[in-house]
């Protein structure tokens, strides 16, 4: 499982790195970025799903 941010849709609402700092970080403009290759380890699956479900811009997707 992998998390992906669609940079065109992300407006830096900052929910993802609030919920799952293990998976997401922010850049200089405060936009969300995926950490590393975005691979989600089993213990982070729930957090990944929560981040996806809380992004107001629907910018996060999960690739199984």
């Amino acid at each position: 499982m992998k998390v992906v941010i669609n940079a065109d849709a992300c407006t830096g609402q900052g929910r993802c790195f609030g919920i799952a700092p293990e998976l997401f970080d922010f850049d200089d403009l405060g936009n969300g970025v995926v950490k590393g290759d975005g691979k989600v380890t089993p213990e982070l699956v729930e957090k990944a799903r929560l981040a996806e479900a809380n992004c107001p811009e629907h910018a996060i997707s999960i690739e199984e």
């Binding site: 407006t11 922010f26 405060g30």
Partner: protein, 403 residues
């Protein structure tokens, strides 16, 4: 200002300054969502109010048909002498694409999460001082003793303006908001004159003594090798003042109102501090402080409504946040709500640039308050007042300290 007749039917004659709306807008929005998801009014020269999450999102993302040239509804329309789109009076909030993108990029680094983290200790210490000042009081006003000071101190510090001018800041916000409703352009300009002089003094001081703050940053910033126009700098500073102060003040005060009236939530937050991030998002959803506006660019049909050029559109992020289609149990405050795609900070290109800062201020202000006062209640539910207009929050909030 003339006395307006009270609203009898919000579907055909809405007014966001009507006393019923100011006191408790939620039942009005619930009814509109059922009956008439895009309400109309002839007031203010004509305007529309969508009340569902879906329609609010559609408008926020539609910069082709709606302009941000004026984002606060008043009796006047933007005058001939107002700076034209796409820059507008207060970039980036008043700017449309493509200029918006440039003006926004310019200020985002100043509000990034990394910068916000460095301000947190200052906010915590400042909240502690405010609480020390009222430590002898049995009754603490959550608004006028506490919440109202916090964002003012933060913005003042970010801009690098003198500490002694903090009262003046609140006045500036007031004059700007009042001025918007003043149809007479000459009176508007006259009311604004002292602010213009004050700001020019501050800018000059920064030109003479550059330092590490947002004002000097804007003075030095360049777009494609050219320094910003003075009216751009002026407008952005004014925006930060107006957008950063009563919004966050409202967010903090409404959260304290909630805790004062819901002892179970207060107790949970005191005992389970790890709930704070979820609680902040739910405060933001349930008591969303900020409603925006747009102007219709050209005649067009929106959701079956015949919108005309220059009609207002009241962009109710708070109404969207209470839409039961978007949030199960939308009218219930659930302190640990896990899925909460709220739009309190707006959506799309104008998403609040200060959202990380605002969240941090709210969190620290509430943490410090409940650490000092783990138990408090309203002295009297009837005396609480709420601000009128597009920023909603508890204002007069007398809290009896119980422990």
């Amino acid at each position: 200002m003339s006395i307006k007749p009270p609203v009898e039917d919000f579907a055909t004659d809405w007014d966001h300054t009507d006393p019923a709306w100011v006191a408790n807008p939620y039942p009005i929005w619930d009814e509109l969502r059922e009956k008439c998801p895009v309400a109309h009014t002839d007031r203010y020269g004509g305007g529309w109010f969508p009340s569902t999450y879906e329609l609010v999102s559609a408008v926020a993302n539609d910069t082709d048909n709606f302009t941000s040239h004026t984002v606060v509804i008043g009796n006047g329309r933007p005058g001939e002498d107002a700076p034209p789109a796409p820059i507008g009076v207060a970039p980036p909030i008043s700017s449309d694409p493509p200029f918006h993108h440039i003006a926004r990029r310019l200020i985002l680094p100043a509000f990034s999460p990394g910068v916000v983290n460095t301000i947190e200790p200052f906010v915590r210490e400042y909240c502690g001082k405010l609480l020390d000042n009222v430590s002898a009081q049995e009754i603490v006003n959550g608004g006028s003793d506490y919440a109202q000071y916090i964002p003012v101190a933060v913005i003042r510090q970010m801009l690098g303006f003198p500490e002694k001018d903090e009262d003046l800041f609140r006045e500036i916000v007031h004059i700007v908001m009042e001025g918007i409703d003043e149809p007479d352009m000459d009176k508007r300009i006259a009311a604004f004159e002292p602010i213009r002089i004050y700001m020019e003094e501050q800018l000059q001081d920064h030109i003479d003594h550059p330092r590490d703050d947002l004002t000097s940053y804007l003075l030095n910033a360049e777009i494609a090798g050219t320094k910003l126009l003075p009216e751009h700098i002026f407008g952005t500073i004014l925006l930060v003042l107006v957008a950063g102060i009563d919004t966050t003040w409202s967010g903090i005060a409404s959260s304290l109102y909630h805790l004062a009236t819901n002892p179970k939530d207060l107790e949970r937050l005191v005992n389970e501090p790890e709930l704070m991030p979820l609680a902040i998002e739910e405060f933001l959803r349930f008591y969303s402080p900020v409603t925006m506006a747009r102007l219709v660019k050209e005649d067009f049909d929106f959701n079956g409504c015949p919108m005309k050029k220059d009609d207002w559109l009241l962009l109710g992020f708070p109404a969207a946040n209470r839409d039961p289609k978007a949030f199960p149990d939308a009218d219930k405050f659930i302190i640990d709500r896990q899925i909460n795609r709220h739009v309190a900070f707006g959506l799309g290109i104008h998403r609040c640039a200060g959202s990380n800062l605002a969240r941090m201020e709210m969190r620290v202000a509430i943490e410090e308050f409940i650490k000092r006062y783990p138990k408090f209640e309203l002295t009297d539910a009837d005396v609480v007042t709420w601000s009128q207009g597009q920023v909603r929050g508890a204002r007069h909030l007398p809290l009896r300290i119980l422990s």
